[in-house]
C-alpha cells in the first residue's frame, strides 16, 4: 500500500510540476497574475509531495519493506537504525528523490524571498525551476522508480553497501546536492534575464548570494567526500581524480569562476555574455556530472544502453544547452559589454585571468575524464589518463590561481599605477621570498612544496596588509582596535568574507602540499610481537581478535604504537566481513594530528592470529584540509550576510 502511495505521489507531483512550469511561463509572457498564483501553489504542492515521497521511502526502509526492490537492495535486517535512514539515498533511485527534494526546497525559498524583489524575472524563474523539477520527477517515475515492487518478496534484503555505513554519508550527499541543485537558481535567473531581455546587472545582484550558497555547499560536499575517502576507503588519500569526483569538481571550478566574474559586471558592466555562459555551463556540468556517474558510460563504454537514465540525462542536457544557446543567440545584440578593459595591469585583467585559468582547469578535468571515450571513438584504442595527468596539468594552474588570489583583491581597477603596485605588492612579495628562504633553511627541498607554501604566505601577507590598513584608517576616526576590526568585517562583509574564504583555500592548499610532499608509507608482514618502524613510530603486532556485529563479522588487529614522545597507544585496524559481500572491507584506524596522521590498514592475516600484513602511513598535514573547510565555512557565512555597506 505504502509503495503504491509513494508512486502515486510522484506521478501527481510530476503533473503539478509540468502544469506549474507551463502556467508560470504563460504568466510571464501574458502577465496573468492569477496563473502565477496557481503556479506558485503547484510549486508548493510539488515540495510537499516530494517531502512526502521521501518520508514514505524512509518509512519503507525503517519497516524493512523488502517487497520494494530498492529497499531490498540497500538494506537488510541487520542494518542499524541510523544507516537505514542514510540508506534511503544510498543508491541511484533514492538519491534522485533527495536531489528533487532539495530543488523543491530551493524553489519554495525562491517563492518566499523573490516574489516581490525580483518581480520582472520571477514568473520565468519559477517556470524554469519547475521545468527542471519536472525532469527529475520524470526520471523518478519512468527511468528510476524508487517504489517499484518485486516478487517474490525476499525474506531479507541484500544490505547497504558497507562502504556507505559511515556518518559522512548523512552529510555528504545532502551537502553535495544542495550545491548541485543550488546552481539551478542562478541558472533560472539567467534564463529569465535572457527571455525578458533584461540582461543587465539586475539578475546578478539578485543571485549573488544564491551562487555563494550553492558554491559553499558544493565545496562542503567535496570536502566531506574527501574525508570519507580518507577515513573509510583505506588507501590513505582523499582525492583520486576518479570520474565521480571530477563530476562534482567541474561545476565547482566554473562556479568559482562565476563568483569572481560577476564582480566585474557589477562594477564595470562588462562580461555580460561571459557571465550568462558561465551560469549555463555550471548548471549543465551538474547535469553532465550526474549523467557521467549514473549512466555507467565511463566505467564501461558499452554499458551505455543498459540504463535508460543515461539517455534521459543526455537528452535533458542537450535540451538545456541548445535552448540556452538559442536564447543567447537571440539576445546577441543586447549582450555587448558597455565598458572595456583599460589596461593589462588592472583588477579586471586579474579577474579575467582567474576566470580563464579556472575554466581551463575545468576543461582539462573534463578532457581527462572523457579521454577514454574520445580515444576509443577517434583512434579505436582504449587509453585512459590517470592521476598523473590531472596533477601535472592542474598543479601549474592552481599555483597561478593562488598567486592571483593575492593580486586580484588589491590591484587597482582600470589601470594599476606603478605606485599602486609598489604600495600593495612589494611588502607581500618580500615576505613570500623570505618565507621561501626560511623553508629552505628548515630543510624543505621540494621546489614545488616551497613554491606552493611561499605563494600561500604571499597571499596571506596581502590579506594582512589590507586588513591592517583598513583597521588603521578606522582607528584614526577614534574607534578602538577590536571594534574597528569587527566593524570592518560586518560593514564590508562581502570583501572580508571573500578574504576568509581565500584563507580557507590557502589552509587547504597547505594540507594538500604537505600530504603530497612529505607523507611516507610502508607495508610489511609482522609475526606476533614483531615491530614495524616508520618515521619514528614503532608499531608492535600483539594479535588478532574476532567479533560478531549486528550485520557483519569483524577481525580486529591489536597493535601497540610508541613514538618515543607520548605514552604507548593501541591501534585497532580491522577487516569487516559482510555476508552479502564477496570480499572484506577494510576498517582503517588512525590518529589524527596537526602535524601528521598515523594511519594503519590491516591487509592480509593468518587465521590463527600469528601473523598480519599491515600498511602504515604517516600522512603529513592532512588535517589542515579539514580545518580549511571550517575556515571556508566562516568566510562563506560572512559573505552571504545582507550587505550593509555605507549607510547601515
Amino acid at each position: 500500500m505504502i509503495p503504491e502511495l509513494g508512486q502515486a505521489v510522484l506521478i501527481v507531483a510530476l503533473g503539478l510540476a509540468l502544469y506549474g512550469s507551463a502556467a508560470a511561463g504563460i504568466a510571464g509572457a501574458r502577465g496573468r497574475a492569477m496563473l502565477l498564483q496557481s503556479a506558485q501553489h503547484a510549486a508548493v504542492g510539488v515540495f510537499a509531495l516530494l517531502g512526502a515521497a521521501l518520508a514514505l521511502l524512509t518509512y519503507a526502509f525503517l519497516t524493512f519493506d523488502f517487497s520494494v526492490r530498492y529497499v531490498a537492495s540497500n538494506t537488510n535486517l541487520g542494518t542499524p537504525f541510523y544507516y537505514r535512514i542514510t540508506a534511503v539515498w544510498g543508491a541511484l533511485e533514492g538519491s534522485i528523490i533527495l536531489w528533487g527534494s532539495m530543488l523543491a526546497l530551493y524553489t519554495v525559498i525562491v517563492i518566499l524571498t523573490q516574489r516581490e524583489r525580483a518581480r520582472q524575472f520571477y514568473p520565468w524563474v519559477l517556470a524554469v525551476m519547475l521545468g527542471v523539477l519536472a525532469f527529475f520527477l520524470l526520471v523518478m517515475t519512468v527511468a528510476a522508480p524508487p517504489f517499484q515492487r518485486q516478487s517474490p518478496v525476499p525474506a531479507d534484503g541484500r544490505g547497504l553497501n558497507p562502504l556507505l555505513e559511515d556518518t559522512g554519508m548523512i552529510t555528504h550527499p545532502v551537502a553535495l546536492y544542495l550545491g548541485f541543485t543550488g546552481f539551478t537558481v542562478p541558472f533560472a535567473f539567467a534564463i529569465a534575464a535572457l527571455v525578458t531581455g533584461r540582461v543587465g546587472e539586475a539578475w546578478i545582484t539578485l543571485t549573488r548570494r544564491w551562487t555563494i550558497i550553492a558554491w559553499y555547499f558544493l565545496s562542503l560536499g567535496l570536502l566531506i567526500g574527501g574525508w570519507w575517502s580518507y577515513h573509510v576507503l583505506g588507501w590513505g588519500g582523499y582525492w583520486a581524480w576518479d570520474p565521480v569526483e571530477n563530476a562534482a569538481f567541474m561545476p565547482w571550478l566554473t562556479g568559482t569562476a562565476l563568483l569572481h566574474s560577476v564582480m566585474i559586471q557589477e562594477r564595470r558592466r562588462m562580461l555580460k555574455l561571459w557571465n550568462l555562459a558561465l551560469v549555463i555551463l555550471t548548471f549543465s556540468l551538474t547535469l553532465f556530472g550526474t549523467f557521467l556517474t549514473r549512466s555507467g558510460v565511463i566505467a564501461s563504454v558499452h554499458a551505455f544502453t543498459q540504463g535508460a537514465i543515461g539517455a534521459f540525462f543526455l537528452g535533458f542536457l542537450a535540451l538545456v544547452v541548445l535552448g540556452s544557446l538559442a536564447l543567447l543567440a537571440w539576445r546577441w545584440e543586447a549582450l555587448r559589454g558597455v565598458g572595456q578593459l583599460d589596461s593589462v595591469v588592472s583588477r579586471e585583467s586579474a579577474f579575467l585571468l582567474n576566470n580563464v585559468l579556472l575554466v581551463a582547469a575545468a576543461f582539462t578535468v573534463f578532457f581527462g575524464t572523457v579521454f577514454p571515450l574520445l580515444s576509443e571513438a577517434v583512434r579505436g584504442v582504449k587509453v585512459s589518463v590517470g592521476a598523473p595527468f590531472f596533477n601535472q596539468v592542474n598543479v601549474p594552474l592552481f599555483l597561478s590561481l593562488i598567486f592571483l588570489m593575492g593580486v586580484g583583491p588589491l590591484i587597482a581597477w582600470r589601470r594599476a599605477s606603478t605606485e599602486n603596485l609598489r604600495r600593495n605588492f612589494v611588502g607581500p612579495i618580500l615576505v613570500g621570498v623570505a618565507a621561501a628562504a626560511l623553508f629552505f633553511a628548515l630543510g624543505v627541498r621540494s621546489a614545488l612544496a616551497t613554491l606552493s607554501l611561499a605563494l600561500a604566505v604571499f597571499v596571506t601577507a596581502t590579506i594582512a596588509l589590507d586588513l591592517v590598513r583598513a583597521t588603521r584608517a578606522r582607528l584614526r576616526s577614534g574607534e578602538s582596535a577590536p571594534r574597528a576590526m569587527v566593524e570592518l568585517l560586518v560593514r564590508h562583509n562581502r570583501r572580508y568574507g571573500g578574504f576568509i574564504v581565500h584563507l580557507g583555500i590557502l589552509v587547504i592548499a597547505l594540507g594538500v602540499t604537505g600530504s603530497q610532499a612529505w607523507s611516507v608509507q610502508t607495508e610489511t608482514t609482522l609475526r606476533q610481537g614483531e615491530v614495524a618502524q616508520l618515521a619514528g613510530y614503532r608499531i608492535r603486532f600483539d594479535g588478532l581478535a574476532g567479533s560478531q556485529e549486528s550485520n557483519h563479522f569483524r577481525v580486529v588487529g591489536h597493535f601497540t604504537v610508541t613514538n618515543g614522545r607520548a605514552t604507548p597507544a593501541v591501534m585497532r585496524p580491522a577487516k569487516k566481513f559482510y555476508p552479502q559481500e564477496s570480499s572484506p572491507i577494510a576498517g582503517v584506524d588512525y590518529h589524527l594530528g596537526l602535524r601528521e596522521d598515523l594511519y594503519v590498514v590491516l591487509g592480509d592475516f593468518a587465521r590463527d592470529g600469528s601473523q598480519a600484513t599491515i600498511k602504515v602511513q604517516v600522512n603529513r598535514l592532512v588535517s589542515w584540509i579539514w580545518i580549511g573547510g571550517l575556515v571556508l565555512t566562516l568566510g562563506a557565512a560572512l559573505a552571504i550576510l545582507p550587505e550593509r555597506r555605507r549607510f547601515a
Partner: protein, 146 residues
C-alpha cells in the same frame, strides 16, 4: 604594442601553454587498456598498460613475509604471468576479474604497480550457506586466542 594586441598575445600564450601541458600530460601518462591476448601478441617494454583479465584458479602465490604476489591473468586464449609487490586488495581473488596497471618486463612477465579489483554489484542472497569460507573464518576466529 596596443592594448588589444597585448590581450591577444596574452590569450594566445595561455592557450598554447595549456595545449602543450595537455599534450605532454597525455603522452606521459597515457595508459593502454589491453587483454592478455593483445599484450601477448605485441608487448612493448616501457609502455604503461592496464591489463584486464580473470585470475587463473590455482595460479595465485602470495608470500606475506616478502610481500611477493604472483598470479596469471587470462582471457581464455592467452595467460600472462603477473608479479606485484604488496598485499592483494580486498576484492582480489582467484577466478575473479582484475585489472592490473604496470609495464611489460624484459624476462617475460607483467610487472604490476597497481592492482584494481572490480567490485561486483551482483545480487547475492545472504545467509544462503553458499559462502562456506565466511562461516569457516568466523569459526576459526571465535576460538579464544592462545
Amino acid at each position: 604594442m596596443n592594448k588589444h594586441a597585448k590581450f591577444l598575445v596574452g590569450g594566445a600564450v595561455i592557450a598554447v601553454a595549456l595545449a602543450y601541458m595537455i599534450y605532454a600530460g597525455v603522452t606521459q601518462s597515457a595508459v593502454y587498456f589491453v587483454t592478455p591476448s593483445e599484450i601477448q601478441a605485441a608487448p612493448i617494454r616501457g609502455k604503461s598498460y592496464r591489463l584486464g583479465g580473470l585470475v587463473t584458479p590455482g595460479s595465485l602465490r602470495w608470500e606475506p613475509r616478502t610481500l611477493d604476489l604472483a598470479f596469471t591473468l587470462t582471457d581464455g586464449k592467452a595467460s600472462i604471468p603477473v608479479r606485484h609487490k604488496g598485499t592483494p586488495p580486498d576484492l582480489f581473488g582467484e577466478g575473479r576479474g582484475a585489472v592490473v596497471e604496470g609495464t611489460w618486463s624484459a624476462d617475460g612477465h607483467f610487472k604490476a604497480t597497481l592492482i584494481l579489483a572490480k567490485h561486483s554489484e551482483e545480487y547475492k542472497a545472504p545467509h544462503d550457506g553458499g559462502d562456506a569460507g565466511y562461516r569457516d573464518l568466523i569459526k576459526s576466529l571465535q576460538k579464544p586466542r592462545s
